[in-house]
Subunit: 470 residues, 3 copies
């Protein structure tokens, strides 16, 4: 039986000359409030404020970081109870699924998912033993009991986690009813939306047509032209802002931005409506819409985020059976220097505009992103994203970015998670890794301890708050 | 005079909190048997079991890792006695060549070749002084004497090295006579073949036509159609399996796999036969044959290996005079996310199929390979290959792969060498680097010592054995 | 008030087992003379040998590494007094500009610019406090006083810095009058030119036509044909050699080299003259001229440098107002394996020819550059360049290059600076980082201390001197 021992010095360099400094820096930031300016938590859980159904539903089913690893070792998604979209029958017994998960829990050794889960089990839920096949059901029961208690309701956890603000991600046609209800409920938790129009700006999206129809319904008029589309998006951005949104988000394969002119844009939009647009049309339209989104951000002040490089739904079989976001999005090479030139030339010299750029291709860090962010007033670098939101990934980011862009062209940590309970775990890792990085600069006499403490607070709290205007 | 001192803590992090743990982990794996599931040792040496001719023939001539470095510093391949293929006269005095090598031995400082050679000289052959221009001939004589003794015959070394199984690499038209003879000899050493059909599947290979003729000879019928080619390859795979093969290997510039359909494949094959195929034809045919090879692996259970990214025979002058494998293969950019999608979509969800992927482009590790292997049940990552089979290279591999793919989507260490005597040296480096990596996780409180010991044994022994079905 | 404390162990690994060795190695190289074989210092300052005008003109205005960071945080180039090229009015009060700089000096924490400036302020000029908004003007005055004294005249600093040779970078049509005058002055400082023909070989250069006219003027005949162009360039190389040049330099986006043949080259040159050449024409002509430059180097012995990968003048607005070299050059992906094959096949086996290759794309290090340099006798690797001339950047270079290319296919450190006073700061960083890297090899028992000391001296002094034939 392996008892948990989440060591107070975990992730720090074991060299005492670094570790002791890291420890001191970490002490000053570990309890700062959490700014979560971008993520995918379902806001409805704070409306309902009901207990999570069971451990399997809480930890495994919504977390494609976790179940993809089990899938890679030959456990079917059916056996894991992942809800299918085509009536494929899947396992429904949460304990049976939990057992499978527990037996393979050793697969997460050395991974950030393992690190986060250990934190959640041990620190959030007080589990004493590390999960394995033998203690699986015992721990399931322990977790289940906790989950059912009022101490672990979503709002209670939100407060316990010291979340100052949590941003969700929402489609332009979303009503934002949960956000409204949270506000009206009198609860003090700040949950704001973010405007993510991918389903509308990507003509090749499988549900594009119905997305446009949903948008028509919510704006109350037909979107028969590109001009009407722009009008609708501008109106919805206005509404999102009123509902507390401070940012937009754009998930694209390529960061290519290029203004086609209204006439050409209209032509492509009509091809979309008539169902005749090609992938090249869709790519061109996306590039055009990135320019439009930047223009609108200059006008309405919403911070623009670009998440590029994910090749979505790589595994067609999994997509057909289980839909999107099932651990089968695979990174692909990214380019920013040429792709973003038009956007940055048109809007990047405006220091009132903010575009925060993310990549899944780490080669961009030192080659393109740090030099661009180290020059253009509008551009800032998002933290390491997705697979790179990890101890080594964050360390590489700081090592490859800081010398060219400094600390102040980055925006602090963003958890970007749909697993609510993992939020404090993820921020804790980021705070530890940043403390350790700063400690390594102090120990190598590159910055003073006073400077490190200022930077640590900025990385943990101030930069995200300022960059996202929160 | 510099005496060898191969320190027991070599390659370990000097921080005692890591080093001492690394030492403890290493102690538990250093004497495990060697699984060598992929390599290029000539099996005939175990048939003959005769003394190696001389130190120059043993250490220098077959090792393009070594002589390319001397060539890069202005020593001609003629002077190094590399056998020419076009009657260019080359140096034949092994001592003269050895002297040149010894004088430049300092060039290998900080390189894995230097590390391996030091191990071979000092630990395998008991040489006390580090090689240099002055002691060159003395050490030559010492080595020569050892080589001639029965203690250093190939079979004796095989056993002394504790090799449990050694795989060679063989063309489909190879008779596998040496493998047969080894079996029949009554010697217990396990030497198995691997099926590498590049010479047949690559229409642009300079000897393609004669390779097909060799294949015709061995299957006993004319290969006049694509269908016949497939038949012949299937028959040979069957024979290889009977001879102990458990794997195939595919050396390709690009990992692109795409099914052309039988009709188009036939067309390209006929162009090959008539000598009219273009490079584009050859690339398309290779992509098609990768799909066929995956299909056959699904059917016959042979593990499929893809080694992509080597631009072969970059230096035409060297190729004309000395042929292939002369240190002039240069890595080029690789892509897997898009290139392998068709193959992985068709066969990658089958957990009975295994495809092990290697790259010469380290940017693929975190961007493509770890996410693919961390999702598809069939896909596993080969260890760092060729230039990256090095202390820093292996460390980067673990740091960039583990957090996304974990340890259990990798397959342990593979030496991939044609230098037989370097095998224990290479495995020792890998065991040290993995022990050190695990120790760094223990020292940073990410895994426990118990976990590290289990993983260490898996990385050293179990994973290769299981992945290659040995 | 933060007093400077440039610690004697700065940048060294804090682990005493590495740090103490690094310290010992560094002691043996820190005072070696500086070889500066490539850079952009204006030679006229050594002709005039007058005091630098003021701190703002000395530290900020010529250093685009520095002012781009301020620009990225919203301070306009106008406010920073960067001279405009289109009559945009800019700030002229050096103290006002200095204040802005000082207030944002914390932005350079963790960057090489910060490291260099700290050295310049503290070690070269004896400033005791770290610069900030409050002490800005006090430090300005202190610096101004020093600058005006004879102890800080350019020639005095040159000697104090122990510069053995300094290379400038010059256009083919430059008269090299400053170099002549320095020689004639009787002063012993060795300042040599380098031949950089980009303005002539790049048809797409905005001033190409007038550059050709300048070349006509200096050779004394009309350049109406490609043949005449080649003649003119050969003559000017000859003259540069007579003036002490030992190298040429080629700044290109891509390292692609390809011989077009005289006829095609003539056709493109005529298109250039008639102002009808396209970007594709310009790219082809550049590729052709790289082959010609290599040929000439084989003939006249000038060492060839290729600096590839900078996408120049990315920000059109900044280019229009302030011209080139304003911190808006952004790296882009580079390729060498295929691009340099023709050049290396034709000239790379000639060990009397030297081509030194630089990149702004770090992915080339282990994938292409180290393997190429580790094979071709003519090719050597330039040190990490521009954004990568940094503590982490140099460390990555050694870690990614050494195992494949060894130390002896690299050429030591090159400062490549236009900021004269930063030269000793930059060389000091390089000496420290190399000492630390070697110490890490010693501490991991990979090389002996004796070997480390030899290599350290080679990296610091001998390799640059030999590679550049100085």
């Amino acid at each position: 039986m392996a008892l948990y021992n989440l060591h107070e010095d975990r992730f720090f360099d074991p060299n005492p000359l670094i570790r002791n400094v890291a420890r001191d820096i970490y002490q000053t930031v570990k309890d700062l409030p959490i700014i979560s300016p971008h993520g995918h938590v379902d806001p409805q859980i704070f409306v309902d404020n009901k207990p999570f159904p069971n451990p399997t539903q809480l930890f495994l089913i919504p977390d494609h970081y976790v179940f993809r690893m089990l899938y890679s070792k030959g456990i079917s998604l059916e056996a894991l109870g992942i809800p299918s979209v085509n009536n494929t029958p899947v396992e429904t017994d949460p304990k049976k699924i939990w057992k499978l998960f527990a037996e393979k829990y050793y697969l997460f050794n050395g991974t950030p998912s393992g690190v986060w889960l250990d934190y959640e089990f041990n620190i959030v839920f007080g589990i004493k033993e590390k999960l394995n096949g033998e203690n699986a059901l015992k721990i399931y029961e322990e977790l289940n009991e906790k989950i059912s208690s009022p101490d672990f309701l979503p709002r209670t956890l939100f407060e316990k986690f010291r979340i100052e603000v949590l941003s969700t991600t929402d489609a332009p046609f979303d009503t934002l009813d949960p956000h409204k209800k949270i506000k009206e409920s009198g609860w003090n938790g700040k949950v704001v939306p973010a405007f993510r129009p991918d389903g509308i700006t990507d003509l090749s999206n499988q549900t594009w047509k119905s997305n446009v129809e949903k948008l028509e319904q919510i704006v109350g008029y037909k979107i028969t032209s590109y001009k009407k589309l722009i009008q609708a998006l501008e109106e919805r951005r206005k509404f999102f802002k009123e509902m507390g949104a401070t940012s937009t988000d754009h998930g694209v394969v390529s960061a290519y931005a290029h203004d086609l002119g209204d006439e050409e844009a209209e032509k492509l939009f009509q091809k979309g409506l008539s169902g005749t647009s090609t992938q090249a049309d869709a790519d061109a339209f996306t590039a055009h819409m990135l320019m439009q989104m930047a223009r609108m951000s200059v006008e309405d002040g919403l911070v623009m985020q670009i998440h590029a490089g994910a090749y979505r739904n790589h595994n067609k079989d999994v997509f057909t059976k289980f839909g999107a976001d099932k651990g089968a999005d695979i990174p692909t090479t990214c380019e920013y220097t040429k792709n973003m030139q038009e956007l940055l030339n048109k809007y990047g010299n405006d220091s009132h505009f903010t575009v925060i750029v993310f990549t899944m291709d780490e080669t961009n860090y030192s080659r393109e992103l740090a030099p661009l962010a180290g020059h253009y007033p509008a551009m800032k670098l998002g933290p390491p994203w997705w697979f790179h939101d990890s101890i080594e990934g964050m360390t590489r980011f700081r090592q490859q970015v800081t010398e060219t862009a400094g600390f102040y062209n980055t925006v602090g940590f963003i958890d970007d998670t749909r697993a609510f309970v993992s939020i404090p775990a993820r921020h804790d890792v980021a705070r530890r890794v940043d403390s350790n990085y700063l400690a390594s600069l102090v120990a190598r006499h590159m910055i003073s301890m006073d400077e490190a403490l200022i930077i640590a607070k900025d990385l943990t709290y101030n930069l995200a708050k300022e960059a996202y205007k929160l």
